[in-house]
């Protein structure tokens, strides 16, 4: 009986990958454990091993094919050559899991590039870049410009980054400036803060911000407060960066959005970009900033492509961006929350509701002015974030609008947030725990009474 080999998922967030090489050829005998192919994910190149014994009777996806969706059949293992003939004669039945996307072996890039910002100077050139590459480029450019900038963290150097963000930095800048640390977040965060107090400019990568809870004392008590406690004498020019928030199916301890946690701390700046252009421009600004900056990334966004201006592109910290203008309601979001928000905005537009969308980009200091100006026009506001609802970023915006723009509000401010529970593992529950496009649409309909 023939057995189909499906494109495997090789990381929690992998949706597709490149079938880079076939190690076995049609007609080769395979047994369990044999490497049959190599697959390149956004993080690494992995080997695919056979689980069953037989003969490789058909290769369905040629080597070199990009963007092969997870669960797409890639090969067939049969008992003998007859299976090969049988397989070749009849079309492969679509496996249940891949039913909706069965024919779409080669898919389009995950995200369509966003239209360039109107305020870029005329003639600005753009290049489609993933968030991952944009972050790497930002660090590399700043390291070239300033010898005091160095990168430190777990697996940042020889492994090339647990999420490949620091890929190539070791080769260009050497081990003195791209420093692999032991698994010791509290210790290396403190060490990096000490180096910053001495005047260096460390970029500390946390493999994820979940692990930064081990180090939060040094981030808050040592990095954020020293300037004030020293009467302005001693600052701490440091960036703490890494993926933040839910990835996919990694459970409660690895799925948490820390935006609201750090946003409360005077002395810190907190940045959470959505697009690759903002990721690059804000990371460059963060590295140049004389203050400690918490830079919250998102694993799911790493592989998404956006247009990034060519050259020394710096985005000022503390400025929100009106991504889409509209008249009926204001949607405020940041980071991955923008993906729900933009989809909802498009659907609402089709329903005849015109929404203005603001990407906060910086959480602290928050550009509340831009939000207020928009609400003065629309009279309505909905906030969108993956974090929990209690004392959330949305809570802060609602409070500021009530105290500073009360007379302009025609409806209560509504928050769309993650649910008030630890992140469940089960796929259906995880989906329920996160915000979704439907909730955003419902909230906008509620505040616009439509």
């Amino acid at each position: 009986m023939a057995i189909e080999i499906l494109m495997p998922a090789l990381s929690p967030t992998m949706e597709e990958g490149k079938l880079s090489k076939w190690v076995k050829a049609v007609g080769d005998a395979v047994k369990p454990g044999d490497v049959i192919a190599e697959i390149e994910t956004d993080k690494a190149t992995m080997e695919v091993e056979a689980v069953d014994e037989g003969v490789l009777s058909a290769i369905l996806i040629p080597a070199g094919t990009e963007a092969v969706k997870v669960n797409t059949p890639i090969a067939v293992i049969g008992q003998d050559a007859n299976d090969t003939a049988a397989k070749a004669a009849s079309p492969a039945p679509a496996p249940a899991a891949a039913a909706p996307a069965a024919p779409a072996i080669v898919s389009a890039p995950a995200a369509a590039p966003v239209a360039p910002e109107a305020d870029y100077p005329a003639g600005t050139e753009f290049v489609a870049t993933t968030v991952r590459e944009a972050l790497r480029d930002a660090m590399a450019e700043e390291m070239r410009a300033d010898a005091d900038v160095f990168v430190m963290g777990e697996e940042v150097a020889e492994y090339q980054g647990a999420y490949k963000i620091t890929q190539g930095l070791l080769q260009e800048f050497g081990a003195d400036r791209v420093v692999d640390t032991p698994i010791t977040e509290h210790g290396f965060a403190g060490l990096a803060v000490g180096a910053a107090l001495a005047g260096l400019k460390p970029v500390v990568e946390f493999m994820t911000f979940n692990f930064a809870m081990q180090a939060i004392d040094q981030i808050i008590n040592s990095a954020a407060k020293t300037l004030y406690m020293s009467g302005g004498q001693m600052g701490c020019p440091i960036v703490f960066r890494g993926p933040n928030g839910a990835a996919a199916r990694v459970g409660a301890q690895h799925s948490q959005d820390y935006a609201a946690w750090y946003a409360q701390i005077p002395g810190l700046k907190v940045v959470q970009p959505w697009t690759a252009a903002d990721a690059k421009g804000l990371l460059k600004a963060a590295i140049r900033d004389p203050n400690p900056v918490v830079f919250l990334e998102n694993e799911i966004l790493y592989g998404q492509s956006f247009d990034v201006p060519v050259g020394d592109h710096v985005v000022p910290i503390g400025k929100a961006k009106i991504v889409k203008s509209g008249t009926d309601a204001t949607l405020v979001s940041f980071g991955i929350g923008m993906t729900y928000t933009m989809k909802a905005a498009a659907e609402l537009e089709a329903m005849g509701i015109s929404v203005e969308v603001i990407d906060l980009r910086t959480i602290r200091p928050m550009d509340v002015e831009t939000v207020i100006r928009s609400v003065m026009k629309t009279g309505r506001c909905v906030t969108v974030e993956e974090g929990w609802p209690v004392c959330s970023i949305g809570s802060e915006i609602a409070s500021r609008l009530v105290s500073e723009a009360f007379d302009y509000l025609d409806a209560p401010v509504l928050k769309v947030t993650g649910k008030d529970v630890p992140m469940p593992y089960a796929a259906n529950l995880e989906k329920l725990a996160l915000p979704n496009v439907g909730e955003v649409i419902e909230a906008v309909r509620a505040v616009t009474y439509r």
């Binding site: 160095f150 003195d176 640390t181 032991p182 010791t184 509290h186 210790g187 290396f188 965060a189 403190g190 060490l191 990096a192 803060v193 000490g194 180096a195 910053a196 107090l197 001495a198 005047g199 260096l200 004392d217 040094q218 008590n221 040592s222 020293t226 300037l227 004030y228 406690m229 020293s230 009467g231 302005g232 004498q233 001693m234 600052g235 005077p266 002395g267 700046k269 004389p290 203050n291």
Partner: protein, 337 residues
């Protein structure tokens, strides 16, 4: 080849320290006395309600920072915990500015916004003044990282107590310092009590010079009441670090005469124990006796130094009481740059 790890720690407490010259004896005497008198005055002012919050006095431990100061290069960095007044005075920071910070006045080192536990002077290579037990150990290791990064030959000294020595982040720092051969001296000021808990009640290994054994960091136990022994051991440690061999641990065996802070009644030890230390091991009395016995200086000359130190402290106390509080607008400054 490195010696077996078990033999890499040693005790210098029993070897006879190198003698001081007259100038060195008088320098040590004056500087330890300045710390003693300053702290006594701070204690008084705390009692008068002029100093608020926590106030941790260094009385009894003066030989540790003064001995280290005598061995170090001017640009070698100091970083310590909240028991920091002595370190600042030893580093050459101005007594007026330190005392004014204790009273929360605008002329304080942190403009009155830091307080007793949070003062800094980049000029004097003093990096604080940190209020979280043990946090200064990775920070000091980071200063050493910067020294190595810049190849400037500086050595960082991270001071912490026997209590902080049980914090996990200390060993995270030891590991990285050992791994990367960072020029840092870990100065464990073992004053026998972590707040109210005796060393033997909190530590499974009470020989703190051995705390680096797992990381292949050499250590020494030092008589921290004898300023000469401190200087000798510090010189050895500084030479070791500066020559690129990595970190070094000095366990300074010392004693604090006062409570953990001003609000500590110190009921966990007997009055006799404290009195015995004062009578038999006082760091200042040891120097004074040596000076007089050897005839390096007369009783009158020492009295003259006493008077000068008292005048310095009185001037600081006056300044700290008369200097105005920070302007209300200071509330909002220095949060970010």
């Amino acid at each position: 080849m490195a010696a077996p790890k078990s033999t890499r720690t040693k005790t210098s407490a029993e070897t006879e320290p190198t003698s001081f010259t007259r100038d060195e004896e008088l320098f040590a005497y004056r500087n330890m006395l300045l710390i003693r008198r300053f702290e006594e005055k701070a204690g008084q002012m705390y009692g008068m309600g002029l100093i608020g919050g926590f106030c941790h006095l260094y009385i009894g431990q003066e030989a540790v920072v003064v001995g280290m100061q005598m061995a170090k290069r001017d640009d070698d960095q100091f970083i310590t915990s909240y028991r920091d007044h002595g370190h600042m005075l030893a580093a050459g920071m101005d007594a007026d500015g330190v005392m004014a910070e204790l009273t929360g006045r605008r002329g304080g080192y942190s403009k009155g916004k830091g307080g007793s536990m949070h003062m800094f002077s980049i000029e004097k290579a003093f990096y604080g003044g940190h209020g979280i037990v043990g946090a200064q150990v990775p920070l000091g290791t980071g200063l050493a990282f910067a020294n190595k990064y810049r190849k400037d030959g500086r050595v960082a000294m991270a001071f912490f107590g026997d209590g902080a020595a049980n914090q996990g982040q200390v060993y995270e720092a030891f590991n990285m310092a050992g791994l990367w051969k960072l020029p840092v001296i870990y100065v464990i000021e073992n004053n026998r009590y972590a707040m109210g808990t005796a060393v033997s009640r909190a530590s499974s290994q009470t020989d703190f010079s051995k705390r680096g054994v797992s990381f292949d960091i050499p250590g020494e136990q030092v008589d921290g009441m004898d300023v000469r022994a401190v200087r000798d051991a510090s010189a050895r440690a500084l030479e070791f670090c500066r020559s690129g061999q990595g970190p070094y641990i000095l366990e300074m065996q010392t004693y604090r005469y006062r409570g953990h802070s001003m609000s500590d009644p110190a009921k966990y030890r007997s009055k006799e124990e404290v009195q015995k230390m004062r009578n038999e091991h006082d760091p200042i009395e040891q120097v004074r006796a040596r000076i007089l016995t050897s005839g390096m200086a007369s009783e009158d000359e020492l009295k003259q130094i006493d008077a000068e130190v008292r005048a310095t402290v009185q001037k600081a106390a006056d300044f700290a009481q008369n200097d105005p509080e920070p302007d209300a607008s200071e509330l909002w400054t220095d949060v970010v740059r």
